[in-house]
Symmetry: C2
């Protein structure tokens, strides 16, 4: 998605340790006009797929998933990272290791929001080691629902998450795949 790549080139900041900061348009400040273009592009790429529901994970996936849902006309569910007194009933959970936060945590979805046989599109902002996406897939499988596909805004192509998911036969659509980046020159190489 050319518009997204241009934006990453213009506003992305590369830090040592393979960190790509896109917090001024994607995951702290949100450019909702860009999100609408992202939503349209996900709809275009998954046009041939039946989608009954979008599943994402708090916090940075939520805005993208909500805007994207407008093009699919389906409800969104976001997996929660902490148990709240407002959660009850049967819960589906998975363990996730965060690349950004360098820790493991549990994500939870109330089982009544994922119905057996449904086709679930997973949406997230980043794909790096694939743990978040794999955790969401586990939750979908535990609900006896199907993963219709995985839509990612930015994939770090030099980490193994994308290969891991595609090797499992999952359909992954990443709007920008970064194959390399250099903090010294602040340059990003995208996969063609």
């Amino acid at each position: 998605m050319e518009l997204l790549k241009e934006r990453i080139r213009k506003d992305g900041v590369i830090k040592e340790g393979n960190v790509l900061k896109v917090d001024n348009f994607l995951n702290h400040q949100m450019d909702v006009e860009l999100f609408n273009e992202i939503g349209k592009e996900f709809k275009r790429r998954f046009a041939d797929v039946k989608v009954d529901r979008i599943l994402t994970i708090e916090a940075s996936g939520i805005g993208i998933a909500a805007i994207t849902a407008q093009y699919f006309h389906v409800p969104v569910v976001f997996a929660k990272k902490s148990q709240s007194i407002n959660l009850d009933g049967t819960m589906l959970s998975a363990q996730i290791e965060s690349f950004t936060h360098k820790r493991r945590y549990e994500v939870i979805v109330a089982s009544r929001f994922l119905n057996p046989g449904e086709n679930v599109l997973i949406i997230d902002d980043f794909l790096a080691n694939g743990c978040a996406a794999l955790g969401l897939c586990e939750i979908v499988e535990a609900a006896h629902a199907n993963v219709a596909g995985i839509g990612i805004v930015i994939e770090k192509g030099f980490q193994h998450g994308g290969k891991l998911l595609r090797d499992k036969g999952l359909r992954v659509e990443s709007l920008a795949i970064v194959d390399g980046m250099d903090a010294a020159t602040q340059t990003v190489q995208f996969r063609e």
Copy 2:
């Protein structure tokens, strides 16, 4: 907002301890069509106010704020609840006590996403004791920006947050104000 009140009556679940669960349309599963009606209503109520930016707080505020921003044509920033390796530069922070989670935590906004003199509309899903909204106001003030108003989806009118904010001269627009609720009969009294 009648549509919202109807939805709370239909799908809200009241639990002991003044907990109103609206997780099947507002803060776990998200009904994005309803969010669009909420966004339009916020725009109608704040039509006379200059808004340069929307500020919300992760996680449940994000979806509502992103959809609402489409009617204001401004960027959204969400305050983060945890320090990540992706946060750097000057940070503005406030301490917040959560009614739902029964604990204190710090929320953080990168100062470069709130400019001096800007008019900031604060959006959140719930207003109870007012701590989240007050924390966001503190952050806006620390940035030398102005609170243009506070837009709340559901205010618990029997808790003191709404009075606290209005007594400070802040403009609070709550789309539904719950004055009482009864777990035994599953009934909600709305303020007229």
